[in-house]
Symmetry: D2
Subunit: 353 residues, 4 copies
């Protein structure tokens, strides 16, 4: 048995834990040969692979990123304006791959499945998303780490807020789904949490800030990058006279600051966390989760259950057909227990009062 493995899309803490568990499990349980493909599909296009043995995956459990490298632009069907599918299929055949383990987001896995249909190498998927928004999967690895990073940032920023009596805004990742902002906001004791799922009432948010300032309290706002005001459009770009390119403002946090400042007495400050949220060593929780996902992928391979993605449902490992989840996005439902909980303990979610 010869198994290929690649990581695609943006990097995410826990990728190496998956790579390690897949490899160790396959070697230990069925003596499989594992072939690591470099930089996602790019490795199949540029013919860059390397064998993964016990030693190659020892000592990587706690390291961030992916030892295989990744790419979020390469497709096995078109690369730099060229149809590369035939070459990729031929290369897979040369490599003698019996199956492909694809660790990536929705897009990566859909491409892998299609490639399997074309080239005859079936795939098993492991979902990867910092944002925790893959359909059919309750909790993805990397998410706990991102939440921990954001929570720490909220705590740091809060001490400044308290010392100066300020309104502090922290912007997190989450273009379509607000999981990070919600969990980190709860863990970091944010007073206001703004999500893509709930258009926020600017006046309501301002009222919370004013009310707290009157009691000499700082206000901590955790906002997902995809959040937007009620009825508003998210103008993060503005045209500049005499310049062909518009200017990108530094994110929704800065926009919110601009609008909030005239409405409150306290100074308002904004921070955009950016790339720090997806890097670094995975938390112990994520290491365990990613290890389980990797081992479960090896199970699917051994049982020949192809075209499926490992998942977590009702707190248990499971798998779902890839087709069932493709192109979908798991957003925070408005009646989700965490949202209800946040509301009930007095967190402002930006909803009009």
């Amino acid at each position: 048995m010869r198994i290929g493995m690649l990581t695609g899309g943006g990097d995410c803490p826990g990728l190496n834990a998956v790579i390690r568990a897949v490899t160790k499990s396959l070697i230990r349980q069925c003596g499989a040969e594992v072939i690591g493909i470099e930089d996602g599909f790019l490795g199949l296009i540029e013919r860059r692979v390397r064998p993964l043995g016990w030693d190659e995956v020892s000592g990587i459990l706690a390291t961030g990123g992916t030892i295989l490298g990744t790419s979020n632009t390469a497709s096995p069907f078109a690369w730099r304006g060229r149809d590369v599918a035939a070459e990729v299929v031929a290369y897979q055949r040369e490599l003698g791959l019996d199956a492909l383990v694809t660790i990536g987001g929705d897009g990566t896995m859909t491409m892998a499945a299609r490639l399997g249909e074309v080239g005859g190498v079936p795939m098993v998927g492991v979902p990867k998303t910092i944002d925790n928004d893959i359909a059919g999967c309750e909790r993805s690895f990397g998410f706990d780490t991102a939440v921990a990073t954001v929570t720490e940032a909220l705590e740091r920023v809060e001490t400044t807020g308290q010392s100066h009596g300020r309104v502090m805004i922290v912007e997190t990742m989450g273009r379509y789904a607000g999981w990070i902002a919600l969990e980190a906001g709860l863990a970091g004791a944010a007073d206001v949490i703004l999500l893509p799922e709930i258009d926020f009432d600017l006046e309501r948010v301002a009222a919370v800030c004013r009310e707290r300032h009157a009691r000499r309290r700082a206000t901590l706002i955790c906002i997902a990058e995809g959040a937007r005001p009620v009825g508003g459009t998210l103008t993060v770009e503005r045209a500049v006279a005499g310049s062909p390119d518009p200017i990108r403002l530094g994110g929704v946090a800065h926009l919110l600051r601009e609008r909030l400042q005239p409405r409150v007495d306290a100074e308002v400050r904004a921070t955009v966390l950016g790339h720090v949220q997806r890097g670094g060593s995975p938390t112990p929780f994520d290491r365990v989760l990613a290890t389980q996902y990797g081992n479960e992928a090896a199970h699917l391979l051994r049982r020949g259950q192809f075209g499926r993605m490992v998942t977590l449902q009702d707190g248990r490992l499971a798998s779902v057909p890839l087709a069932a989840v493709a192109g979908q996005n798991r957003r925070v439902p408005l009646d989700h227990p965490l949202l209800v909980c946040a509301r009930e303990i007095g967190v402002c979610l930006g909803e009009a009062g």
Copy 2:
């Protein structure tokens, strides 16, 4: 509505998050008065209580321990050889309590329930255990923090092991259940994980160490304090000539070291983590979980669902009758997915080969 609240038994990261969520939720949702009882049942015996308002529970989410204090010796029925039940009941009546929120282990909650029957103050329970071993509850707050602390210790000790080519033994909490050793062992890349649930074969463990040493590798062993060798008795105490008291050896890690050293060439070192495992600021995961538990307890109170304990089942908040869980211990089942996963990726669980 006047609600009392106490924390009992050993402290645990997340207690303050529960106290905060119960208080904020009750104040915000039904304008209840919340009375904090100091040092567990001792506060009811010594008549030490204080009101808990919004300000008292602000800023405590991330702090370790319990602002109410706790006791793991005081009982509301007998204290220092005296029957105190009548006094306690009288004091509860004076306080005008409508219900009692009890955050504690099995023992604390059972006492609270019995006290409710005697004195007419019904209770709602929130389970507290570092060890993650309360029956009927998949995941308790504080556990993730303990796992993170142990994982960090394993990582620290591992660098020493690697530099010197040693066998390093780390002893974790877990007298009856091995959850901490299992999850931290997995997250900390332990080569050997020894649990109370699986009596270990000393020769098998020694063989793993020898095989690794031959390949110039260190061996990392994570052992729960309740683990024991096959057929063996756990002699952590020995009589001393001329002394009435036996001497306690410093834990099972030291015992294991004593027996392992003659069997391997590498130097063997042991560390007993002890109290650091139950202290400190809760992880973001535990803060969110504890907040949810606290808010769920407020739900039970508002709905009058007394004599029940908040719990997590199939990844969701739920509640169970206290009677269903009393006196039981949730140990790691031998077919638990985490155990299976550990075995399959090549971790030695001490099972005879």
Copy 3:
């Protein structure tokens, strides 16, 4: 003896450690009364003070920010267009202050000294600067914490850089002095460190990125906010057609990215760390340093050595007359051992090759 104490300017990890040490030392050594003034000079204007006793300063050693609050706008001479000096002097007299401990930057201490001359309350200063740039002081508290925060961010960002083969830019604080960028850059293994003290050659930086990319290596750039290209002006603002206000671009990191991207094949990404750098719990090093500074300030008070600032010289506690340091800025000398060290181990400092 009645001593007032205030914190002025931006907050900084370790302020509470200073407050605690001053208070404990004065109470323990000479039974002094300590009066905390709220929100910097604003407390003297708005007559907001509170006594600081043993209990008030217990448990604050490790907390970020300042329990006294701070202000970086209030002056004891002019506030909201009004001359308030006479009121402030009168209030100080009412309070019966024998001396004032001022914890702050250059500006705060200069104001406190002038106030002392006008109103007769002499002062002792404790230098506070995240940036480590107060003249006459080798190492200020808060700096080690800022360096640790930036280092962690560099490590997080680096895993993403490696996984994607990118150029990652991280912008740190440091408008006039590059200490944070230099130490964190060294500790975080940055390949390029750009400081306000050395105008950087863009082509040289681009060449480093290209050379590394050719070897399939990511490049990590740590840039202080005050760094600028050779001969260049730092246009962080641009006028917007039809808007009275120019738009602030998100910092020099984004500017650098804009200019670097056309020059290299690798993707370039930028992160501006912002406010997280000045918040949070101080590192153990900073707690010890701030405690020593606080105790040394108490020494100066007890000996009547007024108009002086505590400092660290040649690795030892000392003090300097305030006049000797006012209005000066400690920048990184071009022959500083750390700079030399960085160069010699191959870090690019942006100097033309």
Copy 4:
């Protein structure tokens, strides 16, 4: 130029940073070849070396331990009862070494110097000690990391102490010098700090615990392993009837607990930190310090200043002749500013009242 390098004695955070800086600096500044010797002197005996190039030392700055391995038993003069000096000298000649960089404690460096005299390979030393007790060196790398680890443990243990109103004892490394206990005790807000340099008065310590307990306060005691009571002998071993070996009690913390418990009402608990103190990733401070030490060693090599050890004096890099420091131990002087500071802010140092 061909330079050998070895690490000897116990491991220490920052060793890899030194190895990296020496190697990069030598390659970059004079194109030297660097030869890594494995497992301390053992590598010279067993003829195990490997070349260290740019790639070998990339990415190791933040990793704990030593990539070269170490040994605290091997001597280049006698190994397993055999005189190996001639072999070692011959092997060094074969390798063509021009000089040897020795990173280690007093003993390791003395052996290296003697070996140099015998075999003609001169040496340059980099001091390594977790305990910060090498004579002539103000601050050694690894110490800041150890202090940070102990401080974190103190904070964890303190939350338990507060919740239960207990006396918590934490034992740190430091057999002859109390630097770790002193700095970590200050940073971790210990109420009592006990050092090898000051024999402690048990009754005084008990009085502090009782006085705090009366005010419902926990007491946090930080004790170095080498601390002992006034006039007392440190009986950490006791004979066991019928056993040839005495039993080692688990350290001075347990002994102190045994003696303190009968004297105080509060429960007393003890934790021995052990090996976690010397492992793990170095703090940013230690990475910078170790990098400077490594680069300074390269300076000494390039200038031919042999038989010297890099050091830090008056806050600046320097070097001292090895002979000047051999066999000496830097203990905490009784008038050291940190000790004075601790006393003045009310920390009990166990001195009779």
